[in-house]
């Protein structure tokens, strides 16, 4: 089978409705823009919130919006939604590994912090010492080498 034969059996350009496709692009662009603006608003709201629990709620909401944006980019811009089911499944199913990946590693990090704070009190004490804010000039520079910086 020659290379070009391969394209003909793939149902491509026929019945491609450019106007409908264009409308879909505009719709998805608007959705992505609106979600981004909502995320930014949440970001600004979070600056004034100091309650730990509320901050986590807002961060969770931002993550949900992030996943929604990812869905719209992959499904419509990358066109995955309009591919055949077999192809969608070979892409999406392996990405399910991320569910384990994220939960396992973040839990591990959290557990490491708790254990270290509990069994290494010196580490915990050191991490609670506040440093007085250096009077930062508008454009701080490398002349004043910061403490702990690698030369």
């Amino acid at each position: 089978m020659s290379f070009t034969d391969n394209y003909q059996e793939v149902s491509h350009h026929h019945d491609f409705d450019r106007e409908a496709a264009r409308k879909e692009v505009i719709r998805v662009t608007v959705i992505l823009t609106v979600i981004t603006i909502v995320e930014l608003i949440l970001g600004f709201v979070m600056m004034g919130v100091h309650n730990e629990f509320m901050r986590h709620v807002i961060k969770g909401a931002i993550c949900v919006f992030m996943l929604a944006k990812a869905f719209y980019i992959v499904a419509y811009f990358m066109h995955l939604k309009h591919e055949v089911r077999n192809l969608i499944m070979t892409i999406v199913v392996p990405l399910g590994l991320f569910i384990w990946f994220i939960i396992a590693f973040l839990t591990d990090g959290n557990s490491y912090r708790n254990l270290k704070n509990k069994y290494d009190p010196y580490h915990y004490e050191q991490s609670q010492i506040k440093v007085e804010k250096p009077a930062k000039s508008d454009h701080g520079s490398h002349d004043a080498k910061k403490e702990g910086a690698i030369e």
């Binding site: 394209y7 059996e9 600056m47 010492i129 701080g140 004043a144």
Partner: protein, 223 residues
């Protein structure tokens, strides 16, 4: 496109392409999947270290400058960068659709806009990196304190420069790929082939770069 296909199509009985796309596109998808795991590993290691730390710098304090407007403007510059990348993704979709319609002029126009968007994004990133460098931030150097005023480790800057650098490198190579696509279009390579499927593959890569930015933007600037 699936709607062009009868519902009871037998995909695996031989003689036809079971994924209904050509080889190069399937391979592009598999490459992007592996790249997604690379970026995923980066971002998850960032998350793990952040969860393992007692304090972390406040992004609104670190990223609060805008070229020409000074500082005190959290989220402003990164919003601009995000919108630049979204819009360049949109023009890329339009280029792919123009390719479907064999409309060479529209392909060229939209590719040029996409390339301009990519270069604009890279310029923004170059400015941001330079600005942070002059504030004393770099790999192994972190001038910012944690949100609660305690001393921060260099983990924050190390992850920031590594991950945005890796993403910036993807943007850079995407711009190069788009420039090659533009040259090939202008040379009528796709007109002679009879299809613009190559633009679709370049488009997939470009959208992936935008997709990764959605995650990087959220992880570093918002939360």
């Amino acid at each position: 496109m699936s709607h062009a296909v009868p519902a009871d199509q037998k995909w695996w009985s031989g003689g036809k392409s079971p994924f209904n796309v050509e080889y190069g596109k399937v391979m592009m998808w598999y490459f992007l999947m592996s790249d997604a795991f690379t970026f995923g590993a980066f971002l998850i290691s960032y998350g793990t270290i952040r969860f393992a730390s007692n304090g972390w710098p406040d992004p609104n304090e670190v990223f609060q400058s805008f070229p020409g407007l000074g500082s005190g403007l959290p989220l402003a510059f990164v919003s601009l960068m995000t919108f630049i990348l979204i819009i360049s993704s949109v023009t890329m979709v339009l280029a792919v659709q123009a390719g479907h319609a064999m409309d060479k002029k529209a392909v060229v126009r939209n590719l040029i806009w996409t390339i301009i968007g990519g270069i604009a994004f890279l310029s923004c990133q170059a400015w941001e990196w330079t600005h942070l460098y002059h504030e004393g931030a770099w790999w192994g150097s972190n001038p910012f304190t944690n949100m609660d005023g305690t001393k921060a480790s260099t983990n924050f800057t190390n992850f920031f420069f590594t991950i945005t650098g890796f993403h910036g490198f993807h943007v850079f190579s995407g711009v190069i790929i788009n420039i090659i696509m533009l040259i090939m279009t202008l040379n009528n390579v796709f007109e002679r082939k009879g299809h613009y499927l190559m633009i679709e593959k370049a488009g997939l890569y470009w959208h992936f770069v935008d997709l990764v930015w959605v995650f990087v933007f959220t992880c570093f600037y918002l939360i």
